[in-house]
């Protein structure tokens, strides 16, 4: 990371680019936004931050720590004409921290790298950074530090930290026959929102603002990760790549068959109407849309499923050599079974809009 100069510096005039202001000027702006509340030495989100703005940040986190990293690339995971810089920064935090929540951890901190073309407006960079800081604060986490470099397109990497607080990590591969499967919230909204934006139909954007918002900043309650761990979840992941793909991974890693009833999967109220307006299939969004970042977990008993979660299926013994995922009792051949992607499963991450 870059050592960053503290103290006041003149704010760059509006409309200037990163290349014009220079790395140090932009970093000074970013540091201003990133100062931990109360300054260094203050316990923040249960971790004690004893230094930021130096070569490295130093913190103390008792017990076990979960760590994950996720990258968003301009034109693939976001577009500046579809989301504001603030929304893009916030979404990067949700995406990275969902992986930590999915271990059953309490989100405590993030570090960030932002790569931008020199032609990028300073406001775009400070907006992304503000979205990161605000989303982290909303999760009870602190921005510990970061890096800023030049690149041909915007690339945002968020590394998220979480405290296990004495709970055992909940793996994706821990599902057992007899478990019930549940999700922490509705699926399909993010994919629908993206489809609406890509359609270019402003009327739909107004009619389905909730779905557009779900694409711009997914709104899972990531505090449910700790709640699920406390409830004794056997297996957990966040739904980042689409429900079917996560189910395939869970079934394969657990050595079980998972069965889901499509009608049981919660979806945003407006999803059907949006699909009708676009001539799309709402169930495709629900099963394969991805990027909602709700949590998917397997619990030993139905009465362990936390309040607010929805049971969507169950876990069964897997016949040797057989595929692992049943959707409405129809077997889905997944990527992990025969090496070829199933129709509804996304392969190489791309943003085909």
């Amino acid at each position: 990371m870059e050592p960053i100069a503290p103290g006041p510096a003149p704010a760059p005039p509006p409309g200037r680019t990163v290349g014009e202001v220079g790395e140090r000027g932009v970093l000074t702006e970013l540091t201003r936004a990133a100062d931990p509340p109360g300054g260094t030495g203050t316990p923040v989100s249960g971790i004690t931050v004893v230094g930021t703005g130096d070569d490295a940040a130093v913190f103390r986190s008792p017990g076990h720590t979960a760590i994950s990293t996720d990258t968003l690339v301009e034109g693939r995971h976001f577009r500046l004409d579809l989301s504001s810089p603030w929304q893009i920064g916030a979404r990067a935090v949700v995406q990275a921290t969902a992986d930590v929540a999915a271990m059953g951890a309490r989100i405590t901190g993030v570090v960030v790298s932002i790569a931008v073309p020199a032609s990028t407006a300073v406001e775009a960079v400070t907006g992304i950074n503000r979205g990161i800081v605000d989303a982290a604060a909303d999760l009870g986490a602190v921005l510990l530090g970061g890096d800023l470099v030049a690149a041909d397109q915007i690339v945002i990497t968020v590394t998220a930290l979480g405290a296990m607080d004495g709970y055992r990590p909940v793996p994706i591969g821990g599902a057992r026959p007899g478990d019930v499967l549940a999700v922490s919230g509705p699926l399909g909204g993010s994919a629908a929102g993206l489809a609406i934006l890509l359609s270019g139909r402003r009327d739909l954007g107004d009619d389905f603002a909730e779905l557009v918002a779900a694409f711009r900043i997914p709104g899972p309650d990531l505090g449910q990760g700790v709640i699920a761990a406390a409830a004794g979840a056997h297996a957990m992941t966040d739904v980042s790549d689409g429900l079917i793909e996560e189910l395939i991974t869970m079934a394969d890693r657990s050595g079980v068959r998972v069965a889901v009833d499509t009608d049981a999967v919660p979806r945003p109220a407006a999803l059907g109407a949006a699909a009708a307006a676009l001539g799309s299939d709402a169930t495709d969004w629900v099963l394969a849309g991805g990027e909602d970042h709700q949590l998917l977990a397997a619990f030993g008993r139905a009465d362990q499923v936390p309040s607010g979660w929805t049971v969507i299926g169950d876990v069964r013994a897997q016949p040797p050599g057989a595929a692992g995922v049943l959707i409405d009792e129809v077997l889905i051949d997944g990527v992990l079974i025969d090496g070829a992607p199933a129709g509804a499963v996304r392969g190489w991450q791309s943003f085909d809009g």
Copy 2:
């Protein structure tokens, strides 16, 4: 992060691209290389890794933890025609972990994000990953996990973790009047090596192989960070952006004047001959070259300077409002003093070759 399928999968045939093999196929290759020795649950480098290959990795690190993140961008920080994929991965680890070492921490782990065009050869990605794994192992650290995404150019982000082992973090801004300044090894080699490669003169590449190697993988002994902390260093940083720029930051953050004698700064034996062959100025490489990642530290007494370090100057009281860096008793106006870059100081990071 991506949950990664364990166990064997067919290795992709040579010459195939990431887009052809797909994200999961490449991730399977990467995971193979990243398995911690002895598997999960094994103490590695003093941290206990209880899970990898899941949504997040989980580790336990007693005491305080240092964390830093650094990004390398293709065409700016490396080029595939100047370095091998293995060298690029190793360099990314040295660059990121040097920031952690500069706090006085013992390097324990890294997480990595790699963004690549779909047209990238799988061998390039696995080579970068192998370089990361090997360089981490060489430092006594473990690759905890990672992410792989598509982008228009290769972007590598390494987040490094270190254990403070009871030592107080050594800030860049802790230098005090009366301190001696020292560096942990020679400076200028990386810049010279890059200049040699960019000259296209193969004869020079052969004659100055040590300098070319210093560009491809800087070779600081990052274990000196802990040694300097144990010796009571007041201030420390790694020389990533060039000695003058680091001195400016140290002086400004410490509120002191730092004075360096150019002749005292250690440089590779071949530097003068390489500069003569290229018609360049060796002292420019030493003072402004950057990316050697040697450690620069201020010690209270000369007898605290660890073995192998070289004293290059001293720390003095700073007259109010005056600039903070003297090179050979000549005052350098730095970026942090008047807002304009000094001639020898790099501004916005770029790779002008």
